[in-house]
């Protein structure tokens, strides 16, 4: 693992980002009718990317908040735009999640995707480039490029390989996230000029931006723009309606990646950009964002409960789970934020697995309606076991990953806002309701539909890609230290930055200043 040469390790992040792109070029030259070869090559590329990401996780020092494995080179030098990538305790596990889930997602398509395999695989690899890039970019411009890069392959994955209403869903997905990201672009440009105004230097470097003391009014508008862009992506209530449509119509592997990683780009954006850059506005707007998060938790859970389509149920449950993540991030303390990051990973693992599980049954029966099933436990015992473990992980049972994340989030949030936390905790009850009810209707009871009597249980390939997920479920659940300790310094730095920046910005201001006075000069 660590036997890799030092100069290779110094550029490892660049390798991680662009290795899938190299894979794309390889795919260009492969015959388009040899599906088996195309699949295997793509799988090999993603697996290699995962293996190469392991040394990063092993060697990352959790005791420092600094960016590590930094690669930095001038890019568009006239405008101060750099190719600047690095990893710290916040982004590490998201990168790992991406590289971990990609091979699994590719394996899940072996039977599911039969048409245009070459293009499908190319889009999957481009998607990985964008996702890894988003989490590693430290330059705002570079970040934006990767952010938008992700949209395009996902648009095609939904629009070409999706089910019935795929065009509607693909466009909806694209427009929703694009509408948000345009606002973010405006805010990035504004920040760029503000940085020049203050320092005299043109730069899009995030670390330089961190050093700024942005005036509170400007903070408000920039935070609003960033927050809106990320809120579309997360998605937060009431910007969530693209999600169920996109999930229902996306192919299984697309849903897995969409839920597991694309949504995390939104929450990651909050933690990397919106909160540390604009701490005054972030803290002041916490009640509003927290309230939306809690509404999302409860609303997502309630709507999830009454869904008839398994995939839509899981999609709405994502709205609920991501509400927890947001609540944790906006607790502004170590417990909440570490819980939030962990919950991002957990949601990626558990909900990704749930989509795979729905996909498995869809491949067999070509339906996802809950009412078409019942009694499957009897004929699919291995599937039933896997499904049960993932269900328990999703509802946050202690010993599984979901518990650790939810516990830390609620613990942290309880200190920041008790009312919201109490309301959010009801989501834990509701999660048990909708997940167990679905499980019961699908797996328990007698087999009422004759078509279900002769279903085939999981084969070796399917077990092979579910097994790593189950390992992660228990690993994070039983020994979360592995994951939490890498985050410590980075998260602590964010918490400290929020406090010191807030104090600096508000020190000269009258005590008891209302928010209207602070941001809009409205005085009573």
């Amino acid at each position: 693992m660590t036997g890799l040469p030092a100069d290779f390790m110094a550029n490892i992040l660049t390798v991680l980002i662009f290795l899938p792109l190299a894979g794309v070029f390889v795919l260009f030259f492969l015959p388009r009718d040899n599906n088996r070869l195309l699949r295997n090559v793509t799988f090999a590329v993603t697996l290699l990317t995962f293996l190469l990401s392991l040394p990063v996780a092993l060697k990352l020092d959790g005791a420092t908040a600094a960016m590590q494995f930094v690669v930095r080179a001038p890019w568009i030098a006239d405008y101060g735009i750099e190719y600047h990538v690095g990893v710290d305790g916040i982004s590490l596990w998201l990168v790992m999640l991406t590289t971990f889930l990609m091979p699994i997602a590719i394996l899940s398509t072996y039977k599911a995707v039969e048409k245009h395999v070459k293009e499908f695989m190319i889009f999957m690899l481009i998607l990985e480039v964008g996702m890894v890039g988003v989490f590693l970019a430290i330059d705002l411009f570079l970040f934006y490029i990767f952010w938008e890069l992700v949209l395009i392959p996902m648009y095609f994955l939904i629009g070409v390989w999706g089910s019935e209403r795929r065009i509607y869903s693909a466009i909806k997905f694209f427009l929703f996230t694009f509408a948000g990201s345009v606002l973010m672009l405006v805010a990035i440009i504004a920040l760029y000029f503000h940085h020049h105004e203050v320092t005299g230097v043109y730069s899009t470097d995030l670390l330089r931006m961190y050093a700024l003391d942005i005036p509170v009014k400007l903070q408000f508008w920039m935070f609003a723009a960033f927050a809106l862009a990320f809120a579309f992506k997360v998605p937060m209530f009431p910007f969530h309606t693209w999600l169920p449509d996109a999930h229902v119509d996306a192919p299984t592997s697309g849903s897995v990646i969409l839920a597991a990683i694309l949504l995390k780009m939104g929450t990651y954006g909050f933690l990397r950009f919106a909160i540390p850059l604009f701490p005054v506005a972030a803290v002041d707007l916490m009640p509003a964002i927290g309230a939306l998060a809690v509404i999302g938790i409860i609303y997502g859970a309630l709507v999830s409960m009454v869904q008839k389509d398994m995939k839509k149920l899981v999609a709405y449950s994502s709205v609920s789970h991501l509400g927890f993540v947001m609540l944790g991030l906006f607790a502004f303390n170590v417990q909440g934020i570490e819980g939030g990051i962990l919950q991002m990973i957990n949601h990626g693992v558990s909900t990704g697995a749930l989509f795979l599980i729905v996909g498995l049954i869809y491949e067999r029966r070509h339906t996802r309606l809950i009412s078409d099933f019942g009694g499957l436990s009897k004929v699919l015992p291995v599937y039933a076991t896997v499904f049960m473990i993932v269900t328990l992980s999703s509802i946050g049972l202690p010993g599984t990953n979901g518990f650790v994340g939810e516990f830390l989030i609620l613990l942290g949030a309880f200190k920041t806002n008790r009312v919201l936390t109490v309301l959010a905790a009801t989501g834990v009850i509701l999660a048990a309701v909708y997940m167990l009810w679905m499980y019961q209707r699908v797996m328990f009871g007698k087999i009422t539909n004759e078509e279900n009597r002769h279903l085939r249980d999981l084969n070796a390939r399917e077990v092979a890609y579910m097994l790593p997920i189950l390992v992660m479920v228990f690993w994070i659940g039983v020994y979360p230290q592995t994951f939490l300790r890498k985050m410590d310094a980075s998260v602590q730095a964010v918490v400290t930055r929020i406090e010191t920046k807030r104090q600096a910005a508000l020190s000269g201001r009258p005590a008891g200043e209302t928010l209207l006075a602070r941001y809009f000069d409205v005085r009573k």
Partner: protein, 676 residues
Amino acid sequence: MVGGILDYLWLVPALPLLGVVLNGAIALFSERPLLLAEAGHEEAGHGHGDARGGDEAPAPYRKLVALIGPGVVGAAFAVSLLCVLQLAARAPQDRLFVQVLFPWIQAGGFTGSAALQLDPLSAVMILVVTGVGFLIHVYSVGYMSHEKAFARYFVYLNLFTFAMLTLVLGSNYLVMFVGWEGVGLCSYLLIGYWYEKQSASDAGKKAFIVNRIGDFGFILGVFLLFWTFGSVDYTEVFARIPALSGNGTLTTEIATAITLLLFVGAVGKSAQIPLYVWLPDAMEGPTPVSALIHAATMVTAGVYMVARSSALYMLAPVSMGAVAAVGAVTAIFSATIGITQNDIKRVLAYSTVSQLGYMFLACGVGAFTAGIFHLMTHAFFKALLFLASGSVIHALSGQQDMRKMGSLKKHLPITFPTMFIATLAIAGIPGLSGFFSKDEILWKSFSSEHGHLALWAIGTLAAGVTAFYMFRLVFMTFYGESRMEPAVEKHVHESPWSMTVPLMLLAVFSVIGGWVGVPEVLGGHNYFEEWMAPVFGHGAAHEAAHHPAALELALMAGSVLVALCGIALAYYLYRVRTKKPEEIAEKVPGLYDVVLNKYYVDEIYDIVIVRKVVNGSIWLWNAFDAAFIDGIVNGIAAVVRGAGDGVRRLQTGVVGNYAFSLLLGAVLVVGYILLR
């Protein structure tokens, strides 16, 4: 501190976990192919019940399962016993052993270690859990022998034992919560063991969800506890009470909030009003499960938790009052339901709810020792009652309706006497275990500084009702005319030794189990209270005033008398005038129906909460999500599209028009510049 054998304390929960792994592997690799092969041949519509049929030759792996399942629990019992003996060898004030296994969740200032704690309280609990648990595992080998998914059953049962031991051995609230939810999960899995049966999977789900409501309160209580005390470790929390009370951080309000939130958890787990509804339904599970989980161990977790937190509860008089009131009301409320039920297991279920009420009553008046004492004796006699009823059901090929039993006394020479002993014990007949513990509770509910005459009166009345319905059960089951169906009657048989031996052992404990806590007034010595003193010593309630021994004796005699009255009434109604119960029921049809239907609580919950939530959610989805939010989204899209539709009419395609608009534009621009 060098622990000696105590260093192996971790083996106590680890051994059942090993059983889970081994049995799990067997279930996966040996049992699954067999079951799948059977499922392939099976005709549609074949169902399962509590009864099993068919005598296929047992596969060899079943012997292994039957060895591993009870074996690991037995080994855990042995380790527990050695550990407890080692602990007992220490001086009373040193009887606390903490073993930190590994740091579990750490973030910022929060530390929750995976750590075990053995002290007199957890010592009693692990002995009960592993001891009674072992007997029930052995019993299960016989009872479940005809089940197809034999290994799966033991996986769940071992997992339960592991979770329960985690719950009682944890050295902090976080680990307790792990066990807390873990036992809830196992309860869910075991109630729904016959998952093909709709009512079983419904009952499992209901149990889990109602428990989750309690867990919601519990976890919030833990949060408040942590942010108040800065720790969740028992020893640290309790040690900081004086300092934090002194500096005003820990006010009575906060203590009340913490304890009430924790109590919500206890109410859910221990099936008290208003969250008791899951327990009667839980009887859908196999009978040994009812004995282990829904009588002897899991449901008492709430009592254990309240007792564990006794130091906190003592700071919050309001919470104490709430605990006592909920306990007393539950005791009498569910006892009355027990009178009318005809399903043998449901009678016992309501009886369990009622007895748990007693334990909370004890805790609520500050008599934590008495509560735990009753927890222990109850574990013996209630497990015995369930197992004996299981033996009856086994003998009757699955029949649970007492109206179709009768005169079983002669058929079941071991089951009958053991069950009769347990009935005497629960009824509070002097000399048996139940008498000592129940009487201790009643006396404390009167004499403690937190006590009240009303609490004593309710408790005593409930004792009478208990004696009545328990003897009603015995009379209907074992005495009188046989009301069995002829086909069933032919096959009535006593159970195999693996089932009867546990019955006999439990019967012994049901008799002698109370002798460790004989009250001083009867010339005995309360060893149990002495043993528990290091745990509750600092917090236990004192008697409000010194009461004369004569008063204690008088109250004791009173409660025994009430119990005897209950028995006499049951004898009169079900042995002498057997037509009378129906006549009474006919005379007060309204009241009878209400009680028979469990006061319609399930129906009320269904109408007031469940349906409202479901219908509300459907509305949210259809009206709010699809119509309103997506309406806005699609509305914006429609507006944009409509605007484009309108504007494109300008593109006539006629060059002249374009040229004209060109001209018009030029004129306007030039005009603007000139006239500016």
